[in-house]
Amino acid sequence: MSVHGVSGEDRDDYTKEESREIRLRSRRLLLQLVRPHVRRITWTMLLVVISAGAGVVGPAIIAYGVDTALPAILDRQDWLPLWGATIAYVVSAVAAGVLMYVYTVSSARISQAVLFSLRRRLFDHTQRLSLEFHEQYTSGRIIARQTSDLESIRDLLDQGLNELVRGILFMAFTGVAMVLLDPISGLVLGIALVPAIILTRWFQVRSTVLFRETRTTSARMIVYFVETMTGIRAVKAFRTERRNDDEFGDRVEDYRVANHKVISIFGVYEPGIIALGATSIAAIVLLGGIRVIDGTLEVGVLLATALYARQFFQPIQGIAMFFNGYQSASAALEKISGVLEEQPTVPEPVEPTALEAAKGRIDFDEVRFAYATGGDVLPALDLHIPAGQTVALVGTTGAGKTTLAKLLARFYDPTEGAVRLDGADLRDLSNDDLRRAVVMVTQEAYLFSGTVAENIALGKPDATRAEIEAAARAVGAHDFVSALPDGYDTDVNKRGGRVSSGQRQLLSFARAFLADPAVLILDEATASLDIPSERLVQEALQTLLADRTAIIIAHRLSTVAIADRVLVMEHGRVIEDDAPAALIAAGGRFADLHRAWRESLV
């Protein structure tokens, strides 16, 4: 088994090596994210140190006020030191406050910059990943990565460099002071470090496992949530609410338990560390007391070391919190780095073949194709389409028509053989060139929430309003769009729920019209249209397709009228291939289909 990429993401039984590998991957990512901000981080930390210093000045000034300024007034009526002390106090207060402000804003900037770049990177990467990945990974998990995982990284970044820096500094200084003051007490502290490290190690190992569990359980919960909300109509129509409540409830509970476990072990770790501190202070008092009585130690020194020891352990709570946050963020980074480690199975070429203006000749050379999950869908396909030809692709459902189209649009790469455009292997074309040349209108007419105009403009982002309207007019969508409350600026709601399914198809058709590619693939692009609209679309097609290559997949043979050539597919093979009239005359499969279709017409 491998833990490369997202494989094994759901497992909780990693071996030591696997666990280390993931850890390293997550740490690398953290470093990469933080590196660009090293300078800012450094001076922000400096600010923390200075502001900590300003905080320390306060008590000293008060001591000065009482010890020096007061006698000065009493003795010689000299008010100057008191004025000085007061002003110094005000200045240190203002300085501490302003530093605090600058520090806080600056660290927020760092944390937001890190999150921003991580978000962007993750988004960009998931967009690049191939359909094959998305089909298996599901949208819910990507959303989980982008929301709840990022949230735990944010917690780490927000909560606390401040505490960590202050804490470590503080411990270092008091530690050194102690050793200088009384080496034996220093030794006690040193010895106390051993169980502290053991305890920390225990916490680290346990919490790594448990934090991973929180990430997987929260992702599972989010996946379920997203799926329910996406399919809410079916949920209602088939009354699965109660079953979903149970199922989702289980996932919520799993997440709760995971969360609770991880909080609980921190609830042992933190008091454990504090108890350790208490024990070592007691030991210092004991050893010191004995030595004082023996006369080998000054009382003053004992008092100082006891108080120092107490101080030494004070910041440890903050540091433990930081460590906890770090563990949580690491678990999240493990998952995110896994996604980032995935490579597109349909990669962009390193040195693309240039394709200036595509003519649109298409060749499927000895193509064999199988989806990752099953047998061959296209066992052996050899197909050559000259530029400018309009090809109708018909055949039983599940024959592999969409698959063929998806290969041409390079959603997948063939398992064997090659698909070529103008003689160039699609694998050698840059994404930009390919997408400019080949556009596919998919069987599912997906609209994004946003306005009608935005949705059409997806075909050509810099299109003017006039171009958008022209495209809509060409496919016969203008009338209904104008009738919408805000015309082209009407929000179509999520998934285009605001418009009817036929209207959705018209809009996605307009989108392709606007994109104006050399090769156009229409996959059942008129299946949900009524006959008059379909006729309009067909007229539009006739002008549109005059000078470009087109593959039109359709069950309604009305489309065939405008095709130069018909391919009949069955079980992944092309069984008939000729001009429509010739096929009808020949009396094969297509002739049967055509007759059946004619008969159904009225």
Partner: protein, 597 residues
């Protein structure tokens, strides 16, 4: 982009948090115990240095050998007691906080499932998700850490101020007076922070929406090579969120700044006045020192108030966002005294049905504008109309995915609104125009409406829908089909959705263009098999093609929101011009010839 209601402009922290009470109440004793443990813990933290000093100054200095052990043990006991208090605080508070979070999450989800489709039309999915995940997480953390700390630190603060006043009423009073500007600062903070905090939460929700769409719409984005375009959109949204978060941090920072400056300046003034008071013999040096020793202890509680305040506002906003959903009135609810249909026969009647979507412009006519239609038991009715004429809308009414806005829909003489939704939806099953499948096994998908039914039902449904291809899938009927069934071909998906509706064995079948993705042969086979079912089941079938209309006994033509005409296919073809326009792809002359044949 975001279509959820705008944020209320008035911050109301306490009422918003108080609304969590029903969830928190069961755990109140534990929370109070947690506060108790925290209080004792912070008292111990204060006491330990004093005790240390007393021990060292006292018994140890006097060379009392017997005192060494008890002194060390006392120190140990106090320290362990402090650790125990921390342990107890977490023990008491943390578990309840996870329970509160989980039960709120379950309630939110349950509520979302109950709310009508119209609600889901309006709300972005990311907004719902961010409420269910991020907001509730925020509330948990506030409950676990914020609220306890708030209470403890507030008490410490009050006690501390009391002590200050006790040491020296004059200085203490001066300190309180000089610190009053904090109230103004805090008030202003609340006004502005409240809004940015809310904006950040909303923007996080919008970002989640964009992520979701970018994945669900990945095929379109890839087909047009618009990955970069989508990235640009996402980037600008993410950078808006970033600016908001930084604006939030600014607000935070400025509050903290004032919370540092104001008390410290007050101390400075107190120092001056205190020394002066000593010189005029109104105060002893001891009292002055004691005053400042106490004041130092207050630094942390004062400072912490800053982030706790922000924390509380975030939590209050999260609570408001949660309640925005939970409080939404469920407009499609079960009746108080539900009727029931003992023996459903499947007579479906539309009586003067009117319907308009919530966002329809006021001057527009109702989308369904007084439709009358009767489906006799066992009858199959095709519903024909041009694109966007309201067919899908009409078919959503019998199962109450939407409620009529006028007139009524009757099932066996009972208004559908008088039945429980559970009962109604057992009588009415649907296949939608887009096959909404779930990433579960084929079996679970087909048996969605009849969980626990046996294989016979499953096989029968698969047979009728001509979906035998499922047996060729890698794990047969146990194969988990990908998200939304997208690892199946279009026609395969549609047939599974059809099988699902058929398997439910309802009295009324509502099929929205159920054969659009099938080839001519398969369509004919499905139709032949469906005829058996349709012989005894009432069915309303939306049709775009003459071939689908063939399934029906009669056809209803929808036009301008009404049922324009009802009759058999050939009757309508002969007498209705609009019907010919919608359904006929033949030229007039050709048709005449065919009809005459």
């Amino acid at each position: 982009m975001s279509s959820q209601p705008a944020a209320p402009s008035k911050p109301r922290i306490i009422p918003s948090l108080a609304r969590l009470m029903p969830y928190v109440r069961p755990y109140l004793p534990r929370l109070l115990a947690g506060v108790g443990a925290a209080l004792v813990g912070s008292l111990l933290a204060l006491a330990i240095p004093l005790v240390l000093r007393a021990l060292v100054d006292g018994p140890l200095t006097h060379g009392d050998r017997d005192a060494v052990w008890p002194a060390a043990i006392a120190v140990l006991a106090l320290g362990l007691a402090e650790a125990l208090c921390i342990f107890l605080r977490r023990f008491f508070v943390l578990q309840p906080s996870t329970y509160v979070e989980a039960s709120m999450r379950r309630d939110l989800y349950a509520r979302l499932q109950q709310l009508p489709v119209a609600f889901h039309d309006r709300w972005q999915s990311g907004q719902l998700l961010s409420r269910a995940v991020q907001d509730l997480g925020q509330l948990r953390r506030f409950l676990a850490f914020g609220s306890v700390l708030f209470v403890v630190n507030l008490m410490t603060l009050l006690v501390g101020v009391g002590v200050l006043l006790w040491w020296s009423p004059l200085l203490g009073g001066l300190f309180v007076l000089l610190s009053l500007p904090i109230v103004v600062v805090a008030f202003r903070f609340e006004q502005t922070y409240h809004q940015v905090s809310r904006r950040a939460q909303d923007q996080a929700g919008d970002l989640a929406t964009t992520v979701e769409q970018s994945v669900h719409g990945i095929r379109v984005l890839k087909a047009f090579g618009r990955g970069r375009h989508a990235l640009d959109g996402f980037t600008s949204q993410a950078s808006e969120l970033r600016s908001t978060e930084i604006a939030k941090a600014r607000q935070d920072a400025s509050l903290w700044m004032w919370l540092t400056i104001i008390p410290f300046v007050s101390y400075a003034v107190c120092l001056f006045v205190g020394v002066w008071l000593v010189t005029v013999d109104q105060l002893t040096v001891g009292q002055l020192l004691a005053f400042f020793a106490t004041a130092v202890v207050l630094n942390w509680p004062i400072e912490s108030m800053g982030f706790l305040y922000a924390f509380a506002i975030d939590a209050a906003n999260a609570s408001v966002r949660f309640h925005e959903v939970v409080d939404t009135e469920n407009t499609i609810d079960d009746p108080e005294r539900p009727a029931t249909i003992a023996e459903p026969r499947g007579r479906l009647t539309f009586e003067g049905v009117r319907f308009r979507y919530q966002d329809a412009p006021a001057d527009e006519r109702d989308l369904v504008d007084g439709a009358d239609l009767v489906l006799e038991p066992g009858e199959t009715m095709a519903l024909v109309g041009s694109t966007g004429s309201g067919k899908t809308t009409l078919t959503a009414l019998p199962a109450r995915l939407y409620d009529v806005t006028g007139g009524r829909v009757l099932l066996d003489g009972v208004d559908v609104r008088d039945l429980t939704r559970e009962e109604l939806r057992t009588h009415v099953a649907m296949a939608f125009e887009d096959a909404t499948l779930f990433s579960r096994s084929v079996r679970d998908n087909v048996l969605l409406g009849v969980p626990g039914a046996d294989d016979e039902v499953l096989d029968e449904a698969l047979r009728i829908a001509q979906a035998s291809f499922v047996h060729d899938l890698p794990d047969g009927i146990e194969t988990v089909i990908g998200e939304e069934g997208l690892s199946l071909s279009g026609g395969q998906r549609q047939r599974l959705a059809l099988a699902r509706a058929v398997a439910a064995k309802p009295a009324v079948l509502v099929l929205d263009d159920p054969l659009s993705a099938l080839d001519v042969d398969t369509e004919a086979q499905v139709e032949a098999a469906l005829r058996q079912v349709l012989a005894e089941t009432t069915a309303l079938i939306v049709a775009h093609r003459p071939s689908t209309v063939q399934l029906a006994d009669r056809v209803a033509l929808m036009r301008e929101g009404r049922i324009d005409d009802v009759g058999t296919h050939s009757e309508l073809l002969a007498r209705n011009e609009h019907y010919r326009f919608v359904l006929s792809s033949l030229e007039e002359a050709e048709r005449n010839r065919e009809v005459n044949l």
